[in-house]
Subunit: 138 residues, 2 copies
């Protein structure tokens, strides 16, 4: 835990968006669902770069990332998954895992290429989407 790191608090802060806890990471649905299925996977450990992790932890973390990406692919049937580890604003490893569709107006550009208005769901819609992802993870 690092003071003032919003990612260290995120699992507690966003309880209604929880998808799953794994050994090294937490996975939540991104609150903005402009991109359907947009999911965040972040490390339990406060760590900034992939190469700061122990090798064994890095390997297991990437298995966790890959497993969630595969589940998203199964649920949403996108044309591509985008995997992004940036952290310029919040330097605590968090993966943006984003199903992308060739039918989007933004396709094939990265999700950051154009600003958009956030798409928030109702509490029921969040629950339903999370439940589908959890089923795929089983």
């Amino acid at each position: 835990m690092s003071d003032n790191c919003p990612m260290c608090r995120r699992w507690n802060d966003d309880a209604e968006l929880h998808i799953e806890e794994q050994e090294h990471s937490y996975t939540i649905l991104n609150r903005d669902q402009f991109f359907p299925g947009y999911t965040l996977l972040f490390t339990k450990q406060h760590v900034t770069e992939l190469f700061h992790l122990d090798r064994a932890v890095r390997t297991e973390l990437m298995e966790e990332v890959s497993r969630v990406a595969e589940a998203l692919s199964g649920v949403f049937r996108p044309d591509k998954i985008n995997y992004e580890l940036l952290g310029n604003m919040v330097p605590h490893i968090h993966w943006h895992l984003v199903p992308r569709f060739s039918t989007e107006s933004l396709w094939p550009r990265p999700i950051w290429a154009e600003a958009h208005i956030e798409l928030l769901l109702s509490a029921d819609q969040y629950r339903e989407r999370i439940s589908l992802i959890r089923q795929a993870l089983r």
Copy 2:
């Protein structure tokens, strides 16, 4: 090899940008050096998603990614490395590994947030930059 995949041809096409061949990947300097040190790491195998790889290959590939990111960090001393696997346009695994600096006009936004004019280097400048990265990889 897949017909018509530019990434399958990239190692042959961009010989003057070669940094290194590893077991599962090729690494080249990105021709556009608007972001200093911007590097591409792509799989030898024509494959689209992380979860399409065998587990052992995925692990070794991510070690290759992490090793190159660490070398870039050592050479360029950025504030953060950005790791992006997109592939919407070219669905053959290629990692954008981008050193990012808090002194950039675009910081802390993703590299795609604003268009920019490509920064091309002279042949000597490419060689020099590549040589620094290769030394860090040793």
